[in-house]
Amino acid sequence: MDALPQLIASAIVLGGIYALVSIGLTLIFGVMRIVNFAHGEFLMLSMYLAIGLSTMIGVDPYIGLFVAIPLSLVFGAAVYYIVVRPVIARPHVVQIFTTLGLSIVLQNAALFFWTANFRQLRLSYGDQVLVIAGAAITMPQLIAFAVAALFTAVLFAWLRFTFLGKAMRATAQDPKAATLMGIDTGKILLIAFLVGTMCVCVAGMLMAPLFSTYPTVGLQFVLVAFVVVVLGGLGSAVGALVGALIVAFLDVIGGFYVGTAWKEVLYFVVFIAVLLLRPAGLLGQRGAEELGR
């Protein structure tokens, strides 16, 4: 039983990491209804950015965020106008091929520029362990979780209490009706994509000290992110956090008591059960599950 505090702490931290990756995706997926297969590659690029900033100009990734966030907005806008906007009104198959194509291009660009070697961002304080209630947590893990919680709270408040947030939820629920109510849905889509890209960039910056960086690292997290997003409810920031924590708890605690080979079985069983009972996801708003407009 003395393993339990550590298991819970590890699950919470891992949940925070999954949430960071998923929050951006839930906005893009939920509001824009575009399945962004390149989401994992956005994550990969920001992990390389963290390593680049650290090795080339000696900037800590947490300070590097102030450089990375503006960069991610520029990058997001470029991707939006060049790749995403032309296919927004097209059938899903076209969108899927477009974002999948983008993902392959980015993966291979990374392979070309940085080779396939596994890189690790090492911070001087990266191995410092804080023991909290019998559980060992490293500084980068704690920061990643704190930022994930902060982002969820801010996004939740933004979506719930601001006019723009309300417009965004309206667009997620029914884009046609939203347009009729005078919402500039084109602008909303751009904002959703930019905020989503920014979130995944922050995720990458915070994950670089925790995981190896290599051209296909995105694949390791993006499948889980899709599960989390659908489980929590499309477009819901709190849903993403809850979904991420559920998946992480099944990963870690299920892995301990049942076996690591079974962890995917566990969370997919829960995933299917949730979808049967609540097709919109745990905290999804009504209408959000209807992918066909």
């Binding site: 393993a3 550590q6 298991l7 590890s10 699950a11 891992l14 990491i17 993966q107 291979n108 392979l111 080779t115 396939a116 070697n117 596994f118 890189r119 690790q120 090492r122 191995d127 362990v129 060992a136 490293t138 995981f211 190896s212 290599y214 051209p215 296909t216 690292v217 694949l219 390791q220 997290f221 499948l223 889980v224 992480a248 990963d251 870690v252 605690i253 299920g254 892995g255 301990f256 076996g259 690591t260 080979a261 962890k263 995917e264």
Partner: protein, 423 residues
């Protein structure tokens, strides 16, 4: 209209001639070449090691060609990138049907060698595997499928042999009292190595505390595995990992203060990858990797091979700016053995002739690159006893050969591993 169609009739044969001659042109230019096909994962999750392997192969090929080639002909190849099993099968087909190759070599990974070799077997051409370890590879009854590297059974066997022959003495724990735990990714490489190791450990009377499998593509947290190991307290952990998971495992072992007397992993992608040492720095110290030698005691191998080994390593390090890596060594040795076989056939790639030549090759341990020997079984597998494997240890940021004793260049250190707090 009529004039136009007449003109068309004139153009078609001309076009046919142009297309036809260009298609046959490489064949004509190949008089002085032996062209083979090479499959390696150069993109995708294991591209880092695939690239290293190809680099090693190219160095060996260049050396062979500089020394007069094979029966006076230069060895050349066309390369196919095979990130996954589907690509392995497709690219093997393309190399055979489009490029016209009569022999394929590759492929680093157990998930790639099986589909690629099936295509080769269907087309009745020779398939020459340099490094996959799937035990099923050589049990399918294919006549023209060869493997120069040992299989996972060999990996598992050598891991435990190392414990039996030397580690137990250093640790002062009798084999029958030794407690081992296995942690393994769940592909053919991990399962094959782990099951063979487990069987051998049980035969020797060791206590096998646990076997934990995981999917390396989705493994993001080793806490459950590490906490189990903390409570079962094995003396030795035998791991079978790929690279990113190996790094994560050992990083988290430190975070969670997993104290173990020794940890071993077989294969060039795991603790044996240069990226492992680079990523973990001094935390990698003392970890064992069963791979190709990073420098051998020259007394244990033939002088000719010692010189050649040094030459390949020197060129590799000058060209690629990293230490001569295990994946590259597997590639270089495999190509070297292939060249020895093709010298016997006079450069002929006919499957029956290659088979006869390969089976007749008999080189004792120490007579090849990597200090290997060669003796293919009728199943096309280079016998595990001839493919000498070595235990390397991370010492001062580099992998050093520490076992078997006659090949060792340095004594073992940090046995048992000190506590994390005391390092």
């Amino acid at each position: 209209m009529a004039a136009a169609s007449t003109q068309l009739f004139r153009v078609i044969p001309l076009l046919a001639f142009v297309v036809g001659s260009s298609a046959f042109a490489p064949e004509g230019a190949c008089q002085n070449q032996i062209k083979i096909g090479v499959l390696e994962p150069l993109s995708g999750p294991i591209a880092a090691e695939g690239r290293r392997q190809l680099n090693g192969m190219e160095l060996a090929r260049d050396l062979i060609n500089e020394r007069g080639g094979i029966a006076g002909k230069q060895l050349t190849w066309v390369v196919g990138d095979v990130p996954d099993a589907t690509a392995a099968s497709n690219e093997a087909t393309r190399l055979i049907s489009q490029e016209g190759v009569r022999l394929i070599a590759g492929t680093l990974s157990s998930s790639l060698c099986v589909p690629a070799s099936e295509v080769a077997a269907r087309n009745n051409i020779v398939y020459w595997e340099l490094s996959c370890v799937d035990p099923r590879f050589s049990t399918r009854g294919y006549k023209n499928t060869f493997r120069t590297e040992i299989d996972a059974n060999g990996f598992g066997w050598y891991n435990i042999e190392f414990i039996r022959e030397t580690l137990q003495k250093k640790l002062g724990i009798d084999v029958k009292k030794m407690k081992v735990a296995f942690v393994s990714e769940d592909s053919a490489y991990g399962q094959g190595t782990t099951e063979a190791g487990k069987k051998r450990a049980q035969e020797l009377g060791m206590t096998v505390l646990s076997v934990d499998y995981y999917n390396r593509n989705t493994m993001t947290d080793f806490t459950p595995v590490i906490l189990k190991l903390k409570s079962s307290r094995p003396d030795v952990i035998v791991a079978s990992c790929y690279t990113n998971d190996a790094i994560l495992l050992w990083k988290q072992a430190k975070q969670l203060s997993l104290e173990v007397k020794a940890i071993i992993s077989a294969g060039s992608v795991s603790f044996g990858s240069p990226d492992f040492g680079r990523s973990l720095g001094k935390d990698a110290e003392g970890v064992f990797a069963l791979v190709e030698p990073a420098g051998l005691n020259p007394k244990a191998i033939s002088p000719e091979m010692a010189a050649l080994e040094a030459e390949v390593a020197k060129r590799y390090e000058a060209k690629y700016n990293e230490r001569y890596a295990a994946s590259a060594q597997l590639g270089a040795a495999g190509v070297w053995i292939l060249a020895e076989v093709l010298k016997k056939t006079g450069g002929d790639l006919n499957a029956d002739k290659v088979r006869a030549a390969a089976l007749s090759l008999d080189v004792p341990v120490g007579g090849m690159l990597n200090g290997w020997g060669v003796k293919f079984g009728v199943d096309g597998q280079n016998t595990n006893e001839r493919v000498q494997h070595y235990m390397l240890q991370w010492q001062d940021g580099r992998l050093v050969t520490v076992w078997p004793e006659r090949f060792a260049v340095a004594p073992m250190r940090m046995v048992p591993l000190p506590k994390w707090s005391e390092r």
